[in-house]
């Protein structure tokens, strides 16, 4: 694994540092803003009047108030900023893992060495997964450090951990989709468009599903729904929020690897 995995991470270390700093800044911004929101009952009333679809998209499940610690964190961070950040990083990384490096000429060069295609495919997706987890750990550490000072102490460390882990798991699904499209022979742009499009569709269905009952079976298949409906920040870890996306990730990674072994390089 060392031959492929570590160099893959090393090659992205500068980008990884930038993303870590960005996430730290976001957590800091969210944390220092909470004291100003906490006492604002007007905000609660405004948001309580919104449609269930919008409230659901904001991560405000039944009865959660925007000004409560969990409601605030969900609506300002866990239902939007963090998943979008991890999705962008994860989809970009998944498309880079095979398709991007193939277009850059590096893949053929690497495969002229004594490393097998399954090894290269699995190690390179693992590298992306490790980097997503690394960003999640940085985020979690910042949240845990900011929790008490920002007045968000009501949210337990366990639930914070579950929420960050579940968000990373959702990003992994779309990252694995981008990886699998590239491994199967798709160009980098195709991999990006497929996984990015799937993520957007999932998000839109989450909102529409509240209003349009006919769309609910489709919505229920979306990793976004697994995350938002399970609400790990309030309910803690669950199979739907963690086990299901990780299982789908493994299946996508395996399917991509099998396709990669059989095909011609471009």
């Amino acid at each position: 694994m060392n031959a492929v995995l570590v160099p893959a991470i090393r090659r992205r270390r500068v980008g990884l540092l930038g993303w870590s700093l960005g996430l730290l800044a976001l957590v800091a911004l969210v944390a220092v803003s909470y004291p100003a929101v906490r006492g604002n009952a007007e905000l609660d009333r405004t948001f309580a009047q919104m449609s269930p679809a919008v409230r659901s998209l904001l991560g405000l499940g039944a009865g959660a108030a925007l000004t409560s610690p969990a409601g605030y964190l969900n609506s300002q961070f866990f239902a939007n900023l963090l998943p979008v950040m991890l999705l962008i990083f994860g989809i970009g990384g998944g498309a880079w893992a095979i398709a991007g490096d193939e277009a850059a000429g590096m893949l053929e060069l690497l495969l002229a060495n004594p490393v097998s295609r399954p090894h290269v495919a699995v190690a390179r997706f693992t590298a992306v997964a490790v980097m997503i987890c690394g960003l999640a750990v940085v985020t979690l550490a910042a949240l845990l450090a900011a929790r008490e000072p920002a007045g968000l102490g009501q949210v337990t460390p366990m639930h914070l951990t579950a929420a960050v882990a579940a968000t990373a798991a959702m990003a992994l699904v779309y990252s694995a989709l981008a990886f699998a499209v590239g491994a199967g022979g798709g160009a980098r742009a195709t991999a990006l468009a497929t996984a990015g499009g799937a993520a957007v569709v999932g998000f839109v269905l989450e909102g529409l599903g509240q209003a349009v009952a006919a769309l609910r079976p489709l919505r229920d298949l979306m990793p976004w729904h697994w995350l938002l409906a399970a609400d790990p920040l309030v309910h803690g870890a669950s199979w739907r929020a963690l086990g299901l996306p990780l299982a789908v990730t493994v299946v996508l990674c395996a399917a991509g690897t099998v396709a990669f072994v059989r095909r011609d390089l471009r």
Binding site: A3, P7, R11, A104, G105, M106, E108, L109, L111, A112, N113, P114, V115, S116, D264, L265
Partner: protein, 295 residues
Amino acid sequence: MNAAPAIQVDRLTRRFGRLVAVDDVSFAVAPGQVVGFLGPNGAGKSTTVRTLMGFLHPTAGSCRVLGVWPGRDVGVRGRIGYLPGDFRIEAGMRPSDLFAWFARVRGVPVRWGNELAERLDLDVSRPFGTLSKGNRQKVGLVQAFLHRPEVVVLDEPSTGLDPGSQRELLGLVRAAAARGAAVLFSSHVLPEVERVADRVAVLRDGRLIAFSPVGDLLDHARHRLELSFTEPVSADVLQGVPGVVGVQADGRRLDVVVDGPVGPALAAATASGDLLRVAPIGDELEDLFFAEAER
């Protein structure tokens, strides 16, 4: 050739949809032998090489390196040095990092890469993107040779190299062959192959039209020359001269196409007036291939 071939291409065919890129091609390279792989762009050289390396699957036939197909046998790849036709790595990567990485993967001392780079006068600490075209190609050469491979497969290795670096490339190839490596050297330029190869395999439209000792090919090669005189000349002076298959006069210049040795044509030209200058036109390869294909 007593030794078992290190590279064996046997009735290889590769199609892309309806296009037949490589059509029933067979040739072999023995240890210590350099085979030039010649053909115009698009003749199927890269497809043959990439199938040989295991990046593409053969449609029919087979290709083997040291008895196995590298697409299936991962271990044999550590014994091959490969330079792709369009060598590039990501712009931010330093050559020293690439060499160290590949040396580790291939199980040889990391310093081998840097030693070779030093011989080629390559600065290994500058990011790939800041290097000149010739230096980028040198990075590709170093990574192909750094583990002292038993089999060397070079796809258009002299692309972008200045004449000095080209000589160094030919030196590397000769040294590899001298220590027993089998070398497949693809090119669309005859002169450089002529200087280093023992045999030449000529590919045209996916078919192998010649596989012969390099001397044989040169004996039969078709040359195109421009002869300049002090006075205007007529095309008649070269009509009927052995080997001359075409003459066109243009004032004080003759454009001559010769099959095989050029001696008789030059003798006739010298006899017919004051010959100022003899210059080859083009790299002759296209003409050469036509000559081979017609035979």
